[in-house]
Amino acid sequence: MSEKLSRRDFLKAAAGAGGVLVAGATNLGSLPVLGQGDYQGSIVILSASAAEQHDFMIEGIEAAFSGIEVEWRGLTSERYTELFAAAEIAGDQIDIMDLNGQDLRRYAVGGRLKDLSDVDYLDRFRPVGLETYTIGGKLWAIPNGGISGFPFFYNQKALDAVGFEGDPESYQDIVDVADDLKAAGYAPFTHSGQNIYLWPIWQFWAYAQTSGNKPLEGTFNALTGQAKFTDPDHLAGLEILHQYTEDGMFSDAVNSLDVAAAQLSLTQGTAAFWYHHSSFVGTYRSGEYPDLDLSFVNPLRSVEDESVRRQLPGGTGWATGIYSRIDPEREGIAHDILNFMTSDDMVAQRNALGADAVSTNVNIEPSDDPLAVRYGDISASEQFTYLDWYWPPEITRAYQEQQQAIVAGMAGPSDAAQAIQDVMDELFADGYEFEI
């Protein structure tokens, strides 16, 4: 890295690099063959994640490619857009882009990524990741990390307290015990309703059911103007949320709960279910929660048709690609580094970091944590890509606002759907085009 190193940091880095070299020497099969050409100097990685979390990767690259110095700029997911634009306008060196998957479309369609369809190591990855990062028939980024999503977490102690046996499967299961749960001090559901991305997630799983397990197709139709967000299948997703609200399923003040507050409701034993990201398993394992016995199921069936599968939304790791305007002198080495970054060895370490249940790479065994194994068994195969990876951000925001309005009793599902479609119509009028 370009930062000034203290003696301690140097020793740490040297030890890390040594470790990677030893690991590489004993496990050559998992590392790609390196051929860097003549380039020596710095390689800049603009990442949505922090450098401190990726010391192993930075040290690994620097050890594997002699004369290469990695500048890992952790722009954060929230500020990636503005800082990337600033770096580009300032003419800063940009070589590799390590994106949050939801931003891939923007940079792929905007022509900022190299086409990676022809790389020769694609058999290393699970097909779902490659499909997710393919737009217009071309692969724009390599999936890198864990396959993870949003199951319905619940506190087994809460269900035990009301005598519920087995795994809950349908919404009716919870309706039947809701009063008992409340009497025992549990709100049936808590949710991080304040967070911009987390009410839309609720629509993703609901829409997966109301669309007859065709959430992506239905979304693409709405984004290309062949369908509307007011159509019965989309509307029914909002009606499910309305039903949960009307039935008093959510904890008080659900619209003002951030992630920490909602998590506290589950861990302190004041809510039975929490709809959240699977990485919570890692948090649960690393803390002490005497009031919580964690388990999860796929989203509860909330439609009448029992043949509908209970799918859950998720993502396929970071999207790592090559900046399209990279200096030709560095393009070869950037490809080699991309290969290295997405190698089994590196991804396994990234998986460990995120406590991922399933890896983007075929050869990496999922964690042996019972909950991670459960995710691999019952959830991974039912996962579909988060719909806001396709939605324009205006629609994500519109959903969030309208879903909050439904929960607050300010709008009914029909009005909310109409408001969302109005935003979409405005985008079309403004020249919006969606590329599949």
Binding site: T81, G110, Q194, S256
Partner: protein
């Protein structure tokens, strides 16, 4: 021995240098202001005339962004929120800070301690304050609701940040709490500049405490009042951090304010041109409001005099 008089040419040279000196002293400040304020301000005008998403080539679209603002319902709603926010915070901050300044201007034991304590929120980071108050307002675990319930006033417990009718008002409480200390210090400086003889004379004439406040304190504080009202008004229209950290503009857009709206349009919706146009609208509004308020207050001051 008296010094020899300087030749006229040297005197002129000396005067020229002396008259240049002040400009040289302020040159660094002007340069910083120019580079970091004026240049972006002027180049931003050009951006407001573009359609640009931060990636594709910018396209010149004339005044279309401004036209769009006039018909943009969310912008009008957000502006309404901002006006409400400004009215509540300006009145709240001025009233509270003036009251505390008058209290702390008395001969009071531990006065320095109180002054320092009351000023503390001003130096705290917005993010820290946002997180702190978010927890205080938490419906289930928050101090506020638990306090109400603890003293038998459970009916006062509210969903402070989740109820669309209350959320904005809750944020104004935080804003007032954050800034009253700043305005209090300015009022204190003003109070200390009022000659004591005026109060003594008034007492001899039999003026009540209220009459002293009304006819001595308030008029004498007028210049300080103008500064405080102007600063708090401009702060209220430019507020960003508190809604961003505490509610992200929700629920259902009820706490969205102009600066946050501009940020979202620019950096979340990638409409940099529209966002730039919005910021000029905000600049115009703030300038107009501040100018009208200054004019009204100065006129009132002149009339009093």
């Amino acid at each position: 021995m008296a010094p020899l008089p300087l030749p006229p040419k040297r005197i002129a040279q000396h005067r020229r240098r002396a008259s240049l000196a002040p400009y040289l002293w302020i040159l660094p400040a002007i340069l910083v202001y120019g580079i970091f304020k004026l240049v972006p301000l002027i180049s931003g005008i050009y951006m407001a005339l573009l359609r640009w998403d931060g990636i594709a080539e910018p396209r010149f679209i004339g005044l279309r962004n401004f036209e769009k603002i006039l018909n943009d319902k969310p912008t009008l709603m957000v502006l309404g929120n901002n006006v409400e926010y400004a009215v509540i915070t300006v009145v709240g901050k001025i009233a509270l800070s003036l009251f505390l300044a008058i209290m702390l201007n008395q001969a009071l034991r531990g006065r320095t301690f109180y002054r320092t304590s009351l000023f503390m929120p001003v130096v705290m980071s917005f993010v820290v304050i946002g997180i702190l108050w978010r927890w205080l307002f938490n419906t289930e675990f928050g101090l506020l609701n638990n306090l109400f319930e603890g003293v038998g006033l459970g009916f006062l417990a509210q969903d402070w940040l989740g109820d669309t009718n209350i959320a904005l008002k809750s944020l104004t409480v935080v804003d007032i709490w954050k800034w009253y200390g700043f305005h209090m210090v300015i009022f204190l400086a003003g109070l200390q500049g009022i000659p004591n003889e005026l109060y003594e004379a008034a007492k001899i004439d039999g003026a009540s405490v209220w009459q002293q406040f009304r006819h001595i304190t308030l008029p004498m504080l007028q210049p300080v009042m103008i500064v405080n009202v102007t600063l708090s008004l401009m702060g209220a229209f430019n507020v960003f951090d508190i809604p961003y950290v505490m509610t992200e503009g929700g629920p259902a857009n009820s706490t969205n304010v102009m600066a946050l709206h501009i940020y979202l349009r620019g950096f979340k919706f990638y409409r940099f041109g529209f966002s730039a146009a919005l910021s000029y609208v905000l600049l115009t509004i703030v300038t107009l409001v501040a100018a009208v308020q200054l004019w009204l207050m100065t006129r009132a001051d002149n009339t009093e005099q």
